[in-house]
Amino acid sequence: MDIAVRGIALFLFVFLLTRVIGRRELSTLQPFDLILLIVLGDLIQQGLTQDDYSVTGAVIAVSTIAALQVLTSYVSFRFRWARRILDGEPLVLVQAGRVIEKNLRRERMTVEDVAEKARASQIASLEDVQWAVFEPSGAISFIPKQ
């Protein structure tokens, strides 16, 4: 029972963490971020299964997390209001080549960050962008001007 309870508590905490950290941090996986993610996984594992080395314990932990993941995705799918909370909402960063500074500040992004992402999408200048949308996944979608 303990493992299931710990699994729920840690799932909720990590979920909260990923929502409050902001999409920018999650979408830009620098080498250091990758190391931090691995360390985070290790720390969570210790708190989750502790000294339980059994297959049963592992099955309980994995099942708990999988069930919660399916539950959150179902709630997000079923209820629009929940989707906004659980997944976040898109944010328009550029419209008709004009950067919306207020929205950049909100996500702690700079024009250079957006330009970097644009270059990765084969777009040389933000002036060529009709729409740039910061998606809930943390990716930036660019729709070039025609």
């Binding site: 303990d2 710990r6 508590a9 909260l16 963490l17 929502r19 409050v20 950290i21 902001g22 502790q50 000294d51 339980d52 909402e89 898109p90 944010l91 328009v92 419209q95 008709a96 919306i100 207020k102 929205n103 909100r106 009709q130 729409w131 949308v133 979608s141 729709i143 070039p144 001007k145 025609q146």
Partner: protein
């Protein structure tokens, strides 16, 4: 291509109408997360030991042990007995709160004898001449599933059956 992309609502996703406070909710939650390590620095979640000193006419007892612990932690409890008068047969008696859900890894030096005293752990320290000290080290590990809020830990120092000092406190074990 001036059309708005599908599923994008400009009022909400560009002008942030109805989303003005979202960022503040996120900031407050982030501040709460950031407060956790700050609070931890102030020993709210353990495991820094506390020192408690009791002085009686026959003996003094100094206890050095953490009162806030977490599941799985290794920790030490140190009991420093100083005889102010001769103690013919000193006993350190620990209430069940010291052993409940704990692994007692070692007790050094080993007491002369160990026994149960109405559910308590009775550790016989033996003869202590006046002015002499006896330091008992106990090494514990909190069992990983042990969680406690306000569990009573009591220590009695006795000389034979004569109770000399009593100390009591509540411990917290975080999951």
């Amino acid at each position: 291509m001036a059309d708005v992309p599908d599923a994008i609502v400009l009022k909400r996703d560009r002008d942030l109408e109805g989303r003005e406070n979202d960022v503040w909710v996120r900031r407050v939650l982030m501040a709460l997360v950031a407060a956790i390590p700050v609070v931890a620095l102030f020993n709210v979640f353990g495991q820094r030991p506390d020192t408690h000193t009791l002085v009686g006419p026959a003996a003094s007892l100094k206890i050095y042990a953490p009162a806030r612990l977490r599941a799985g932690l290794l920790y030490e409890a140190r009991f420093h007995v100083t005889a102010r008068q001769e103690l013919k047969d000193a006993y350190l008696v620990l209430g069940p709160g010291w052993a409940e859900g704990m692994s007692i890894n070692t007790i050094e030096p080993s007491p002369v004898s160990e026994a149960s005293n109405a559910g308590r752990l009775s550790l016989e320290l033996g003869h202590l001449p006046a002015g002499q000290s006896y330091i008992l080290f106990m090494q514990f590990q909190v069992n990983p599933t042990n969680v406690a809020f306000g569990r009573r830990q009591t220590v009695w120092l006795t000389d034979g059956k004569t109770r000399l000092l009593t100390f009591s406190r509540d411990i917290t074990i975080f999951p």
